[in-house]
């Protein structure tokens, strides 16, 4: 079959303040007509640059293709002028982006922007374009397309905007669709809908898709072929089956092993690739992966490996062939040595301490007023958390999951009294937190600490990391400077950083290292409880695993209790003993981790789990996924809040809010018709 797109040895340079930076080097890839190719890699791997190079959008960002050719259907894009390219962009090749909210011009209507693409490339009248646009919106599953045409981007949800974006990209029937992390900014249920839509449209429009993602699950689900990039180079290229069956490059292998799946054993330690991704300004010599590679030799350090053809696929590793031979069957099936201590220790806790409660939350609500002005009274309330009751036991990890807008982060903040509760009680170690005075609360904060989502924003950029980590000590303990420094240095070591880095500033650290700083600060006072609010969500997969392992080690050593809030379900499953599921401010299900995933009782939980892409191309998951989107919390549905999206909803669900019932020991659910 002929190649639709053929990249040969493409190198892209960027003009920057510090001189010329090479963003991607010697990248070759092909896409056949009708094929879906996934470009996977972590941040900084150059996958987005590659896609922008194909569209030649890098020209606007001080970038240029310094070497190689990009041939689309016989035309070398690298040699075209911007004027000639314009005729191809949007017509022969189209692109959709990661953040649909930012990708539309806020001051033009959706309809206007879709029509613009049509009118640019087709000789049609406005009314024809209008009809075409409505048709497209209908096709991508947007309800009431005529109304949407006249709406502005801020009036649509992220999921709807991404659909509209797809409609816009399809406007002129492109042969190649480039999708740059199209679902990363969306919730998992919406992600699943969008991916399904892309599959359908690909067949319908007979186009090729270049899908860029960091999620191996998405790649497994969507791709015919997968190209793995690392630090601006292609390191491996294989069909989807080949790659997941037997990854050749040590990086791919590490990546596949560091993701958690429904099959991985919870007691096991996560595999992680040591170190972090090198920045563009400081690329290692030789094989760019060698500083993190367990198999690196002298040769790897000195010479850059080309893409070798092995077993009908490509790998850029000097030792690829040997490694595959010597460790045949290694793949993802290999189990990591279990951290045997974790689970037994938990049992111990349970027996000796007799399920001692750390947190006892009853009827907790948090409402925010909306549309409040100086003279007006609040026109309505948003119930971010509504009548939630649960407990957290000492020494356990309680996971909290749900789509954005479910109120999980608000619940976390209210729990720690970072925001005042509107109603309900929170007992922490027998103490009623909602009644505490500010001064008392400040004192008691030493027992409950937080690890935040944003490793960049949650540390003061002007402080040395020693001072950042030492801040809690300064507030709560009267130590002299040398003792404090000693404590901080010990903490640095405990989280895997060097003692000598005390005087460095946060900007000198990578995301993963900064998260370690955040963790060190959280454990500085030996708290009994730590809230991890999306603590690993902003990190790359290989780094995520390091942090999760660190958190588990610390839990074991210090006897911590975690509340782990995240939207990545597998990570939550891996780390949590029990998991609570939230939907629109309500807690809908609580169960032990395994139990929840194996026998989800609430239909929402079921839908959530079914929406997760499985990183195994052979295991195509059933096309069941939740329809629709989470409604606005300002105006939640009556009865069971989930009834609008529930496949099992009955008339009763519409009227009567379901009661909280225990269907099995420790398995609670709020549903009239539990599965």
């Amino acid at each position: 079959m002929s190649q639709l797109l053929d990249l040969q040895h493409v190198t892209v340079d960027f003009q920057s303040k510090n001189g010329l930076l090479t963003a991607i080097r010697d990248v070759s890839l092909q896409i056949k007509a009708g094929e879906t190719v996934c470009l996977v890699g972590e941040s900084g791997s150059g996958k987005t640059i590659t896609s922008k190079a194909i569209m030649r959008l890098i020209d606007y960002e001080h970038g240029r293709i310094s070497e190689g050719s990009i041939v689309l259907d016989g035309v070398n894009l690298a040699k075209l002028s911007q004027h000639e390219l314009r005729g191809l962009r949007g017509k022969k090749m189209a692109m959709i982006f990661q953040e649909p909210m930012a990708a539309f011009d806020p001051v033009f209507t959706i309809g206007n922007q879709i029509m613009e693409a049509i009118l640019e490339h087709q000789q049609v009248k406005k009314d024809v374009a209008w009809k075409q646009a409505i048709h497209l919106l209908e096709r991508v599953g947007i309800p009431e397309p005529t109304l949407r045409m006249k709406q502005y981007p801020n009036e649509l949800s992220g999921g709807m905007l991404q659909r509209a974006m797809i409609a816009m990209a399809l406007a002129c029937g492109p042969e190649l669709l480039i999708a740059d992390e199209p679902t990363t900014a969306l919730d998992v249920t919406i992600q699943s809908q969008i991916l399904q839509l892309l599959q359908e449209l690909k067949a319908e429009y007979q186009m090729s898709i270049l899908l860029i993602t960091h999620d191996m699950g998405i790649a497994a689900e969507m791709a015919d072929r997968i190209i793995v990039m690392y630090a601006g180079r292609v390191v491996e290229q294989a069909t989807s089956e080949q790659l997941f069956e037997k990854p050749h490059h040590p990086y791919t292998r590490g990546l596949l092993r560091s993701i958690t799946t429904i099959d991985s054993h919870r007691g096991n330690r996560l595999f992680s690739i040591e170190g972090s991704i090198p920045p563009l300004t400081d690329m290692p010599s030789g094989c760019r992966f060698h500083p993190r590679c367990p198999y690196a030799t002298q040769k790897c350090l000195l010479d850059e490996p080309p893409l070798f053809e092995i077993n009908g696929r490509q790998t850029a590793c000097w030792h690829g062939e040997q490694l595959v031979e010597s460790e045949d069957g290694i793949g993802k099936s290999e189990v990591m040595p279990p951290i045997a201590v974790i689970e037994p220790k938990h049992d111990q806790h349970h027996s000796t301490l007799q399920r001692q409660l750390l947190f006892d939350v009853k009827g907790l609500s948090k409402a925010y007023p909306v549309g409040k002005g100086l003279l007006q009274r609040a026109s309505s309330l948003i119930h971010a958390v509504d009548d939630v009751s649960f407990t957290i036991e000492k020494g356990e990890t309680f996971g909290l999951v749900g789509e954005s807008g479910s109120g999980k982060s608000t619940l976390g903040r209210v729990l720690l009294q970072l925001e005042k509760a509107s109603k309900g009680s929170i007992r922490f170690q027998g103490l009623e937190l909602t009644q505490l005075k500010t001064a008392e609360l400040q004192k008691d904060r030493r027992d409950m600490q937080v690890i935040f989502q944003d490793p960049y924003g949650s540390v003061n950029p002007r402080w040395q990391i020693g001072d950042i980590i030492g801040e809690p000590l300064m507030v709560h303990e009267d130590l002299d400077a040398t003792v404090r420094r000693e404590r901080v240095e010990a903490l640095l070591e405990a989280v895997g950083l060097k003692r000598g880095w005390y005087e460095r500033y946060p900007h000198e650290f990578s995301g993963g290292q900064r998260q370690r700083i955040g963790i060190a600060r959280a454990i500085a006072l030996n708290p009994s409880f730590v809230l991890a609010d999306e603590a690993v969500s902003a990190l790359d997969v290989s780094v995520q695993a390091q942090i999760v392992n660190l958190m588990q080690d610390l839990q074991r050593d210090l006897g911590l209790t975690y509340l782990f809030i995240a939207h990545g379900l597998h990570i939550v499953r891996h780390i949590s003993d029990r998991i609570g599921v939230m939907y629109l401010g309500k807690l809908v299900e609580i169960a032990a981790s395994e139990e929840l995933f194996l026998h989800p009782a609430h239909h929402y939980t079921k839908g959530l789990i079914a929406s997760i892409p499985v990183p195994d191309p052979k295991q195509k998951r059933e096309p069941f996924s939740l329809q629709g989107e989470i409604p606005s919390p300002a105006n939640p549905p009556s009865g069971c809040r989930f009834h609008t999206r529930c496949p099992a909803a009955t008339a009763r669900c519409k009227e009567e809010p379901p009661a909280w019932q225990e269907i099995q020991r420790g398995h609670w659910v709020a549903c009239h018709h539990p599965a």
Partner: protein, 298 residues
């Protein structure tokens, strides 16, 4: 992509970064202007502090034989209708003009900054009321307000300073408040609160250190406009009537001789412009340096 380029790692030696920055700057022409501006400002400061070192003549010296003589090698800026050397007058005139500018920025910046910081940190109803009040004051354009105050208080140096300072307070207050509000919402403040750090410590150690820079930028650019307003007031005749006129008064006096002696007005005006221009250039540079948003595209 942006993130990747800017992300620096532990392994990157600091010397290397410094070198790269230095190399980048060498070819930046605007950098040259900034240095030039610095020198200009230094020269003005020298004029204001020690005019006798710079001015070739006594400003009060009336050379009756040289009335209204055009610029020449002996009188660079020419002479006025009393036969005074315009260059020397301009040099001596810088003293009051600069003093008014600097003092009013200090007074206005201090009061405005404190007001804005207070309002922003307290928030709630106090903030709303204060900001409405600022809105009201802002409906009266700065120079009108200054005029009215200066007129009511009478011509005295301190009254002029007060007038200019008061008219600038709302601007400073708004900037400071905005800054405080934005810092307050940053995650590291929440992080510090979650640790149990008391409010006082948060304000002193987290919030304030982050709020100086925009105030500094604002004050620098404010210095320019304060000098413009101050000299405007004296141009209108509200300034101090002294033997040695400041820049505004110098222009005002020269205006009557426009048709016969262009130089009396032109040079002092140029002097004001050059100074304000330099201050603004420095202000722009400061803002670019302190604000990551504007420096990204460079």
């Amino acid at each position: 992509m942006k993130e990747v380029i800017s992300a620096k790692t532990v392994w990157q030696a600091p010397e290397l970064q410094a070198n790269a920055q230095r190399r980048g700057r060498e070819f930046d022409v605007s950098q040259l202007f900034v240095y030039a501006s610095g020198l200009v400002i230094l020269f003005y400061v020298l004029c204001a502090l020690a005019p006798q070192w710079v001015a070739p003549y006594e400003p009060t010296l009336m050379m009756t034989d040289k009335i209204l003589s055009p610029p020449s090698s002996t009188h660079w800026f020419g002479t006025d209708y009393f036969g005074r050397d315009v260059f020397s007058l301009t040099v001596y005139g810088s003293r009051d003009s600069l003093f008014i500018g600097v003092a009013s920025v200090l007074v206005g910046g201090l009061f405005g900054g404190a007001l804005g910081a207070f309002s922003g940190y307290i928030g709630g109803i106090v903030d709303t009321i204060l900001m409405r009040f600022i809105d009201i004051v802002m409906t009266i354009p700065g120079i009108l307000l200054a005029l009215a105050i200066a007129a009511a208080l009478g011509p005295h140096l301190f009254n002029i300073i007060l007038a200019v300072a008061i008219s600038a307070i709302p601007g400073y207050a708004r900037v400071m408040r905005g800054q405080i509000m934005s810092i307050k919402s940053r995650p590291f403040i929440t992080a510090s609160r979650s640790i149990g750090t008391p409010h006082r410590t948060i304000i002193l150690r987290h919030v304030l250190p982050h709020s100086w820079s925009p105030l500094l930028v604002m004050a620098t650019i404010g210095l320019g406009s304060s000098i413009l307003i101050g000299s405007g007031l004296s141009f209108l005749g509200l300034g101090i009537i002294k033997e040695i006129p400041d820049w505004g008064a110098l222009l005002s006096q020269g205006r009557g001789y426009l048709t016969v002696a262009w130089w009396i007005c032109t040079f002092p005006g140029l002097a004001i412009t050059l100074f304000v221009l330099s201050v603004n250039l420095i202000g722009d540079q400061l803002r670019d340096m302190l604000d990551p948003k504007t420096s990204r595209g460079r």
